[in-house]
């Protein structure tokens, strides 16, 4: 079984973000980088599947500048077999369809049985790349999976729907699955696996978007405008109700 896992390196969300000089994305200085949270679920699920079926080859793919190999190494230490780095220092400027085209360009002649991706990235959050890859490859996609079962070539997943309800979807291969929080708890790499990962294949290749061109562009990137702070009322209930009515009368037109 051949499995592809697409991951992205994203800034740690606790970092101090600044808008970059072009005003279309965040500035990359002083950021700490890590694997996109949803991609960790994808990596973990692929490794669990390999542990189940034994015969499987896991390729982990990441697009970006040279520093993303650190994140690929983490996936290799978790248990992926080989890494592919599509070198692109400007990947952050690319729109979802361009990223999807680069992945599809790599995957189209490799006959992957299953492609795992994160449901979305923590930084851009478009949630489009996975489904677009499937579309470009002409294979089905199931998004936002929170449960995964594999038995005799049949895959049964649970999708998370609005309002907490779930849908059970059964599919065969090839298929692309995008992974959501709750699917699993990603493992902590063991030291022998960290050591082994240092010797695993990690290829850097040039990426190409083929004949796909961008369909949208980011116009501007900015922080939300500061709005007024909240107001906490204290006291007993009757008093609170009076105060609230008073405020609603004075500051809004709801009771007018």
């Amino acid at each position: 079984m051949k499995i592809l896992i697409c991951i992205k390196q994203v800034p740690d969300m606790e970092s101090k973000f600044k808008v970059d000089s072009e005003g279309i994305w965040y500035d990359r200085a002083d950021l700490a980088w890590r694997m996109n949270e949803y991609d960790e679920y994808a990596v973990e699920q692929a490794i669990r599947l390999k542990e189940q079926v034994k015969e499987a080859d896991l390729t982990v793919l990441c697009i970006g500048p040279g520093q993303v190999t650190e994140t690929i190494k983490k996936a290799l230490a978790m248990g992926c077999d080989r890494g592919v780095h599509i070198a692109d220092a400007d990947s952050y400027k690319k729109e979802p369809i361009e990223i999807a085209a680069m992945i599809a360009g790599f995957a189209q002649d490799k006959n992957f049985d299953i492609i795992f991706t994160g449901m979305q990235s923590q930084d851009r959050g478009s949630a489009q790349v996975g489904v677009m890859v499937a579309e470009l490859l002409g294979i089905p996609a199931v998004t936002t999976i929170v449960d995964f079962l594999y038995e005799n070539g049949t895959i049964q997943v649970k999708r998370e729907l609005e309002g907490g309800s779930k849908a059970v979807v059964t599919t065969g291969t090839p298929v692309l699955l995008t992974c959501q929080l709750g699917l699993n708890t990603p493992r902590y790499p063991t030291l022998p696996n960290i050591m082994k990962a240092k010797k695993k294949e990690l290829l850097t290749v040039e990426g190409s978007t083929g004949d796909i061109s961008r369909m949208q562009a980011t116009a501007a990137c900015y922080f939300p405008e500061k709005k007024g702070g909240g107001l906490v009322l204290e006291g007993d209930v009757a008093e609170l109700a009076d105060k609230l009515i008073q405020i609603l009368k004075e500051k809004t037109s709801i009771l007018a």
């Binding site: 740690d12 606790e14 101090k16 002083d30 700490a32 493992r187 902590y188 030291l191």
Partner: protein
Amino acid sequence: MEFTREIYWNVGHGFTTLGPMYGLLLVALVFFTVGFLKRITVYRLGQPLNRTDQRGVRLKSLLETALLQTKVFRVPGAGTAHGVFFWSFFVLFIGTVLIVIQADFTDLFFGIRFLKGTFYKLFSLTLDLAGLVALFMLSGLLVRRYLVRPEGLTTKSDDALMHCLLFAILITGFALEGARMAVTELGTPLAGWSPVGFGVALLLSGIQEADLRTLHSTLWWIHLGLAMGFIAVIPYSKFRHIVTTSANAFLTDLGPTGKLTTINLEDEDIEKFGADTVTDLSWKDIFDADACTLCKRCQDRCPAYATDKPLSPMKLINQIGAVAFSDRTANLLDTITRDAIWSCTTCRACQDICPASVEHVNKIVEMRRNLVLMEGEFPGEEVMAAMEQTEVNGNPLGMGYASRGDWAEGLGVKPLAEDPEVDVLYFVGCYASFDKRNIAVARSFITLCQAAGVKVGILGKEEKCCGEPMRKMGNEYLYQTLAMEMVEAIKGYGVRTIVTTCPHCFNTLHKDYRDFELDVTVIPHVVFLQQLIASGALAVKPLEFTCTYHDSCYLGRHNDIYDAPRNVIRTAGGRITEMTRTRDQSFCCSAGGGRIMAEEKLGTRMNIRRVQMAVATGADRLLSNCPFCLTMFEDGIKGADVEEQLRPYDIAEVLAERIEPVGTEGY
């Protein structure tokens, strides 16, 4: 008349006595040797470890610990009884040896007798009194073990055997002495020099001489048999501690205190890290189980045990021994249980008090290393998250690394990258960098330094966690990654002196980083402040206050710093009311051993227990020297609902409130 006695009186000094006697001794020695050789084969299952270097220091430790019983005497009561019993029994042993030397050697071959005259009188009196004291102490220990039954004391058949045998040896000794004296010494001036024997002789004085002689020879052979039996049974019973515990004083860890072994991560041949079987541990770790006497001092002081967690250091040591001597392939982690292994705060209370030089903490860390490095297991998801946060941002709190130096805003303290010309580097630590409560401590410390004219620099966003919590949790890989980075950063600026406000940072930089060739003076802030006050650089105006002081584990037991913080507090005008668990007996706040990253899910809350001890002193301030302790006390004071009675502070905070502006004298 000549004051002496006939050795071998009544039993004779011919072959019929010496033959069986030395025959029995030989048999006893064979049992003794075979017994220990068998045990040595089990010790050898462990990994190699050099514990025979620095023999002079080791010999001193052996003499102090075994002969002087210094560690045993640290606990009054049972410890006193054991120590005094040991001394008296040792005197009896020396006495017996002297008799053997004279009767079967110097007298036999050279006709030299030294047991005579005044020396004999003193010899006789000393041995008699030693026997009496031994009986008295042994009775005390018997009452304690079988009638008082202190909580947690494990009593086995071995203990009964020991009591019976020792009582029998002492009683038959006095009885046969009495029988001999009833015939030979009653009515002579010599009798008074053996007061106990004299008493027994008086009791026996009505018996015919022939019967006394029969009684004497019977008792003599019984006494001899018991003594030989005692030697033979040593390796097969708890008596073995006479040998193993003494030996352990020689084989003891010579420090630095609490230093763990550093795994060579460059060695690609290592396939297994940490310990999940006894054979992964060192031979000393197996030997420790044999040296343990089940005195339960460790268990009595273990904060995890005291708060109902499934850890008893004593039990853990003996489980390792039980596995080593039964199924050596058994999984240690399953036997000891993960919950017990994770419960340790590495506070060292167990190891510090242990009279048998047992090393508990390193074993626990070895097992944690196996869980973390081989299995990727942690006590909880929160700990794994903290590890990952540390990998990404260099701190377990998950704060963005770039804002690490923000706490110092407005204080005029610059990162070394901007200004490397400083008197000291302040290694701030994660909590003082990011935790609001501890930022106040860092700022107080800077205020004090500036008042004393000390130019302080920080690493700012170049600083990362020292790696101590990760290391103690078993994550040696992450620790070493951080350590190497920090050493490189520190060395890059040519720093000569580092000051810390966190004892965990201090211990790590001061001891552990030496493995990575950091050779810089590292000083904990309380000591540094004491030096500034002593040199006159820092003028403090004492304003009276009452407080109690908590010795953090890593400044106290791990580094023996007890007086400097107290001196600083007194200089500030503090009147310290000590808690019952103070100095080397201090009770951990719960956050050591990497537990700062873990939720305390088992048993009761350790920090609340400590806060209650502080409340009991009646003082309204709880002073400490550690950001982990301070964090735990803030939380524990809320948990114990004593916010009105007690407030926690770092020593630097109370000192900073009392800075005397320089040059105001005379106003």
